[in-house]
């Protein structure tokens, strides 16, 4: 840390020399991180005073923290002074037709069954007038506006609804929470903001996909979803299509808040670049996701399908504060080659009659390591709390690893907490059965893995689930035989 501070001083001083503060017009911040960068980002986004204050507090706190090392993943040390923390959205290279795209990428698209138009959009081919994503998004916006739903980018929300942002931002994941949450609070560039008013059932599945301006929200994304009394929203994050991204470190924060009788369903499909076959490159996905069931009878449900990233390290959690509130976590984590995943969930039971369920399915292949780490905590006052946890691991090959670290802390006699875990491999008889019926071994593995993950995939919205199934098969390509 002392070294870092030294570098920090150097950088700070040198930047003053060039009159950095006046240079607000530029689009990209210089490399490195210091208070001026934080001020730069805040100014660039024309944020009110309270946001800047908050960012600076987070930054100062971050300086005092040390990078955690308890996780069961390893990666080279990140040099925070070598990262550009703010860059305005870059124009992507435009292609005239799909033929110009990398054939490898096209092959993957086809396997995933993505429509031609969508393929074009994802790979940056100029889209014709029939399928104009902007106009579709506009139609959706009108519909949402009618219902009273606020769905916009975080920067827009700070401008138009500062009172809501001020009230809820950082209330579930304070900047003091962990190293990456502090870093995110200091330098986050953008993200999504959703507010569902009382009694409204959001008329459609919300997705970053439909939000204008969603492109290039950057590596430090911040999402805040607030569901007021008796409201419902289902939110999709990510995409099944492979994402190539220049940024190596992704430290996003997602906060969910539900009031009385409200429900949020949050689904993630993550398929970022996992690095090549030898484990070179790939994204570090260090995300803090947490939901607070503040109201009685409220519900938060996390569903995730994690197939990408070189290192995935996240624990979507629920704080069950309201009486009768429910927390759910469904996860499929697939690791292949040299990927590493340390993921799981935390369920903190505070209110009476709270219930939670964790279903985690890990699949490891190649040289990868897949860990489940979870905490179920029943507080003294959480009368009649109920939890069921199931975490299964499937191993494909003898060079990979599967690990489970479940923590169960119970301080109330009326609680019922159950945990079960199994580790196994695909049976030779199962493969043989498929082979016998003319199914090639690779397809058979895909089939069996899909069956194994079914319980989780069923939780995904329909069209997503179909894509996710194909994605599993693609991710495990080359892991057998």
């Amino acid at each position: 840390m002392a070294d870092n501070l030294g570098i920090l001083d150097e950088v700070t001083n040198s930047e003053y020399k060039y009159g950095f503060v006046t240079n607000i017009e530029m689009d990209t911040a210089p490399k490195g991180l210091n208070e001026d960068i934080v001020r730069f980002i805040s100014a660039k986004k024309k944020e009110p005073e309270f946001m800047l204050e908050w960012r600076l507090k987070a930054f100062r706190y971050w300086l005092k923290m040390e990078e955690p090392n308890w996780q069961n993943v390893s990666y080279p040390k990140i040099n925070y002074q070598d990262i550009i923390f703010y860059a305005a959205p870059k124009e992507r290279k435009k292609y005239n037709s799909l033929d110009e795209i990398d054939p490898e990428l096209r092959k993957t698209f086809e396997k995933l069954g993505i429509s031609l138009d969508e393929q074009k959009r994802l790979s940056g081919v100029a889209v014709d007038a029939v399928f104009d994503s902007v106009s579709i998004a506009t139609t959706f916006k009108e519909k949402l506006h009618e219902a009273g739903v606020i769905f916009c980018s975080m920067s827009e929300a700070i401008e138009t609804h500062p009172e809501l942002v001020k009230k809820y931002l950082g209330s579930v994941v304070p900047y003091t929470d962990n190293y990456f949450a502090a870093l995110n609070a200091a330098v986050f560039s953008d993200g999504s903001f959703v507010y569902i008013p009382k009694g409204v059932r959001c008329p459609m599945e919300l997705s970053t996909y439909f939000r204008i301006n969603a492109e290039n929200t950057g590596q430090f994304e911040r999402t805040l979803i607030v569901a007021d009394d008796s409201s419902y929203v289902s939110y999709l994050e990510g995409c099944t299509a492979p994402m190539r991204d220049e940024n190596q470190l992704h430290a996003a924060v997602v906060e969910l808040i539900t009031m009385d009788h409200a429900e949020i369903k949050y689904s993630t499909v993550q398929n970022w670049y996992p690095g090549d076959k030898n484990g070179k490159g790939g994204i570090y996905n260090f995300v803090t996701k947490r939901g607070a069931c503040l109201g009685n009878h409220s519900k938060i449900s996390w569903t995730q399908v994690e197939t990408g990233s070189a290192v995935t390290w996240k624990y979507p959690s629920c704080i069950l504060k309201g009486d009768y509130s429910i927390g759910e976590f469904y996860s499929v984590a697939v690791t292949n080659n040299y990927q590493q995943a340390d993921t799981g969930s935390k369920m903190i039971h505070l209110g009476k009659n709270t219930r939670s369920k964790i279903v985690s399915k890990g699949v490891s292949a190649g040289f990868s390591h897949n860990s489940y780490r979870g905490l179920v905590k029943v507080n003294k006052k959480a009368v009649n709390a109920r939890n069921f946890t199931q975490c299964d691991s499937l191993l494909l090959g003898d060079k990979c690893g599967a690990h489970t670290f479940p923590y169960i802390e119970v301080a109330n006699q009326s609680a019922q907490v159950e945990h079960e875990a199994t580790t196994s491999k695909i049976g030779e008889d199962q493969i043989f059965y498929c082979n016998q019926r003319g199914i090639a071994t690779e397809d058979a593995v895909g089939l069996i893995v899909n069956g194994y993950c079914r319980e989780v995939l069923n939780q995904l919205p329909m069209e997503f689930a179909v894509e996710a199934q194909k994605l599993l098969a693609v991710s495990l390509e080359g892991s057998v035989g």
């Binding site: 690893g401 599967a402 119970v410 006699q413 907490v417 079960e420 875990a421 196994s424």
Partner: protein, 440 residues
Amino acid sequence: MSTVAANDMNDFLAAEMKHFQSQLNGEVSAPINCIRKEAFDRFNELGFPTMRHEEWKYTNLGQILNQQYELARASFLPEDFFNQRPFADIPANIVVFVNGFYSTEYSTIIDDVSSIGIHSIAKLRMEKSELLTAHFSQYAPYTNDALTALNTAFLLDGLLIHVPKNAQVKHPVIVYHITEAETAAPFIQPRTILLLEEHASVQVLEVALSFGQYQSFTNCVTEVHVGANAKLNYYKLQHEAAHASRVDFTRIVQERDSTVNTLTVTTQGALVRNTLQFYLNDQNTTTYLNGLYLTGKDSLIDNHTLVDHAMPHCYSNELYKGVVGSNGQAVFNGKVMVRKDAQKTNAYQRNGNVLLSDEAIVNTKPQLEIFADDVKCSHGATTGQIDEEALFYLRSRGIGVDVAKTLLMQAFAAEVLEMIDDEAVKAGLIHLIENRIATL
């Protein structure tokens, strides 16, 4: 004899170590003393574990280290107390330790010396025994465990049982570890070494008892080597007073085709921490780990187990159960490690807890770390309360609530004791546990 002030346990130990070394006479340059000194250096480097250590996350050793202790000396044992001991009516080889020192007065060996060698470590030290030098500190490494290092550094007395090749010991060995805390608060550090050669078989039952109104702190280390095709039944009953504390470290190394059954029953204690580690050194071993903890008022019972599958074709099965009442705290951490080459491993683990009060706390962490693919591993953990329906069933047949509850808990606990082969030992344990459950 010096005593300690609140938080300078370390100074106390350093002074004691100096004193201890000055009394060794001819043994100073013996190989065993070199190990002692190295272990003490290692202890000083490591220091006592705090709650910041992952392995001690839920167990605060500070509360027992803050007491004043005296390093235990050979002490007395009233005959009345001895006569009332549990399992008194079972014909067995009886070995008695009072405050960690071998008692020739009370110990009686009935089996032939050709089938079993039972030795006091103090005596072996005097005789400069090859057996002791060859095996002491060979199976329980102290490099990562401060308390094991401390025990190793202060080695004075203890028990070494040696079962030679092909010997089947006829009677069980019952080892009574009796803590006398009537005149002062003792700090006791016994060591047990169990050596089973090829094809040997023995049943060892360890019973910890205590009397006296002072606190006590026992830091014991057991190292076990089970030879090829040997069979060991190793049962521990920790039945000390409610104000007694104990840290127990046991490491068992198993060779090819061997079988080990362990059972750890803890009935009470201010703080009891059991670390039980298995290292499966060769193929085709069988291991059963069973445990039962009854945690009552002001009591914390912590069980940390590790089964390290390093070789293929091994089987392990673990069942730990606990009843936690009053403001008791129970900690369970079961780790199963399956290393890269340990294919065809079968490893099972189960932990069940019943909570009887809102003040009671259970922290459990069943942990699997698997690096091989052709394995069957599972674990399960439950925390709950007495089944309402079962309770109703009993009450509808005219059984009062309290009796019905006790019955159900006894049944819950009995599953753990099922695996004991020796009917007399089993009956004795069941009797003792049933009485204890009724008081929870």
